[in-house]
């Protein structure tokens, strides 16, 4: 008994001493992203956002004389590689927190490693159901699909009063498929009948057959759930076969390239989003400018979420005053109204983000808020 008391006392003393200690000179942040292969476009975007965030935090002296440094590895969108990289970040690089990985499927395999080791993880693109349920060290700054996806539907219903909807989605991708499920539920809730639903596989390039089949049902609106690779051809081919009805796009359509490459085919498209170039949030405007200056291109939502994750971690480091993993976790859970491009950011009790979704439309070659 005495012994236990003694141990507890020491433990308490240790915790106190850690919290009292100032931040170390360099604080390592780890990241595992899909930097090569088919999912590299997301991983690379996120990485650019993270790198910009770290530069800005270091320049701003937010953490006093402490500097953030980044250890980032390619997880190759592979579960075993994800696990391996997480272990490396935790044991070799001794990072204080991990941002990533890019895909939810990799996350389900790798995040338990961090949870077990007591290292906070912030997902920036892990929108699948159940990510934060993996443990109390798991956070994410991306809105779950169920929150922002239907955001586009309400104003569309108000404006066009559609009765029948038709849907096209990618069936081989977890993101698009669950997005399609979210849309189905939202349509049912809004009292819009889903008269036809078609799918395609990753890498398909010709969607005319599916689209013709949908058009044969004469829907009032179309819902497309595609990732960016297929989003533009889907849109172009839909216009090609004569679709003039309103099109509601999934998150894949919230990408500057949709306008750049889709041109007039993209006009009038409506998307619900967690973030967009058109966002009126002040921090977002400065982020877009800085990103453009550094990388020579517009950021996308993934970059914004990666960038925001760094700001959130930095704020938690400052608030908690400690780079210790457990202390950082507690500080993260408590962050309140961090100024990020996503808006004033906080986590809810489930460590999911609290920030409002927005509905956008493409008009005159720009994303604009949908009224």
């Amino acid at each position: 008994m005495k012994r236990i008391l003694f141990a507890t006392a020491i433990a308490i003393a240790t915790v106190c001493s850690i919290q009292a200690a100032p931040l170390p000179a360099t604080i390592k942040i780890g990241s595992a992203e899909s930097l090569t292969g088919d999912n590299a476009s997301y991983g690379v975007s996120i990485r650019k956002g993270i790198e910009l965030g770290i530069e800005e935090v270091n320049a701003s002296k937010l953490l006093g004389s402490s500097l953030l440094s980044l250890a980032i590895y390619d997880d190759k969108a592979d579960k075993q590689e994800g696990i391996s990289v997480f272990n490396k970040l935790i044991n070799d690089d001794k990072v204080s927190a991990i941002i990533g990985p890019t895909l939810s499927s990799t996350g389900f395999a790798a995040i338990p490693v961090a949870q077990k080791a007591g290292v906070p993880v912030i997902g920036t693109s892990l929108t699948a159901v159940g990510i934060t349920a993996m443990g109390d060290y798991v956070f994410r700054d991306c809105l779950p699909q169920a929150v922002f996806v239907p955001a586009a539907l309400a104003p569309v219903k108000a404006k066009f009063a559609p009765k029948k909807a038709a849907m096209l989605f990618e069936s081989t991708n977890e993101y698009s498929k669950s997005e399609a499920d979210v849309f189905k539920a939202a349509l049912a809730k809004a009292g819009i009948e889903l008269v036809a639903s078609e799918s395609y596989s990753k890498g398909d390039s010709d969607f005319r057959t599916q689209l013709s089949k949908l058009a044969a049902k004469k829907p009032d609106i179309y819902v497309f759930c595609s990732l960016i690779g297929e989003a533009i051809p889907v849109l172009q081919q839909a216009r090609e076969i004569g679709v003039t009805q309103p099109i509601v796009g999934g998150n894949g359509f919230n990408n500057p390239n949709v306008i750049k490459n889709g041109k007039e085919a993209a006009e009038g498209l409506v998307v619900g989003a967690a973030w967009s170039l058109a966002s009126a949030v002040p921090k977002s405007k400065s982020f877009v400018e800085a990103f453009k200056k550094k990388n020579g291109s517009d950021p996308d939502q993934f970059a914004a979420q990666g960038y925001s994750a760094v700001l959130i971690v930095a704020q938690a480091l400052k608030d908690g005053g400690s780079a210790d993993r457990a202390a950082l976790r507690d500080a993260l859970a408590k962050v309140h109204n961090v100024d990020t491009p996503l808006g004033l950011f906080s986590f809810d009790a489930n460590r999911d983000p609290v920030c409002p979704p927005i509905a956008l439309t493409i008009k005159d070659g720009r994303y604009q808020l949908f009224q």
């Binding site: 090569t36 476009s41 013709s212 089949k213 533009i232 041109k263």
Partner: protein, 308 residues
């Protein structure tokens, strides 16, 4: 089954058009692949990566360089021939000298493919590249009014190209002296050597032709889908294999016919089968499975001596 769709002749013809152009795409890709198999008996798994590089070559010439379509086509075919030549010299010939088995060549081509795809990722980034509309007007033609059958310029181009390339390659193989030498090497390298044929030279020509075909396929697929990424070869690779088998390994006309069959099957599965778009990939391979079991040499299979 959605019976109302069957009664719609426009929908039917539309599916025929879409299916044939989809199939032409597979066929053009598979021709070069099957040529190498016919002559050397090896599966060149770097063919898909060659194809992807050619799409980028065409993109650079047309979208960045601003040159017209024929120049893009030429650049893509040239790039394909060049890459295929490198593959032959660096990945395949050293193994042939060692007298290694065909599996080794396959592994070597896997390594080469990894290098080519990674280099493309490094050079072009992961973002999708697309042609500006000025390269090829995406607006389709309509036959029988606006609600009639539509066909896009890219579809016409790829259908025409597949037939021209098939006939051209057929004539080359059958009528020219080099074609005869290629067939001789395909039948037996040893015998060809005894006949005084420069076997390595013939193989180089074979790779050049196969590479140029990969180039044509790359640029045509890029035009049809307008989706150019370093991973674009992965998607067509499996189907290319299926098509080659359908047509009979090493059979060039078979590859085109096999392409049309697969394209039509996929399109009609999507169009008419309930939940068709979900099962089309499985259907394609199921058909392949069954054809192989019934006709192990493919639908147009012939003996090895007739190949290539």
């Amino acid at each position: 089954m959605d019976l109302s769709l069957f009664a719609n002749p426009v929908f039917l013809v539309q599916n025929l058009v879409d299916g044939l152009s989809r199939g032409a795409l597979y066929g053009v890709y598979a021709m070069g692949f099957t040529l190498i198999f016919g002559v050397l008996d090896i599966l060149n798994l770097a063919h898909a990566a060659t194809f992807m590089w050619c799409a980028f070559a065409g993109y650079l010439v047309m979208a960045v360089g601003g040159l017209p379509l024929p120049a893009g086509l030429a650049a893509a075919m040239l790039a394909g021939a060049l890459i295929a030549l490198l593959l032959e010299l660096l990945a395949f010939r050293p193994l042939r000298r060692e007298g290694a088995d065909k599996l080794s060549s396959m592994i070597s081509s896997i390594g080469a493919s990894l290098i080519l795809v990674s280099l493309a990722e490094a050079a072009f980034g992961a973002q999708t590249r697309r042609f500006p509309n000025s390269v090829l007007d995406p607006k389709p033609f309509y036959i029988g009014g606006f609600s009639g059958v539509r066909i896009s310029r890219a579809q016409i181009l790829i259908l025409a190209a597949s037939v021209v390339l098939m006939v051209g390659l057929g004539l080359f193989i059958r009528r020219t002296k080099m074609g005869k030498a290629i067939r001789a090497v395909a039948a037996s390298q040893k015998a060809a050597r005894l006949l005084g044929i420069d076997v390595n030279g013939v193989i180089v020509v074979t790779f050049l032709v196969a590479g140029a075909l990969a180039g044509a396929a790359g640029i045509l697929v890029a035009l049809l889908t307008n989706n150019i990424v370093p991973g674009m070869g992965n998607q067509i690779e499996l189907r290319g294999l299926a098509v080659v088998i359908l047509g009979g390994m090493g059979n060039i006309e078979g590859a085109v016919v096999g392409g049309f069959v697969l394209g039509l099957v996929e399109t009609f599965t999507i169009a008419y089968a309930p939940g068709g778009s979900d099962i089309k990939d499985a259907i394609a391979f199921l058909i392949l499975f069954i054809i192989l079991l019934v006709k192990p040499n493919g639908i147009m299979g012939r003996g090895k001596a007739d190949r290539a």
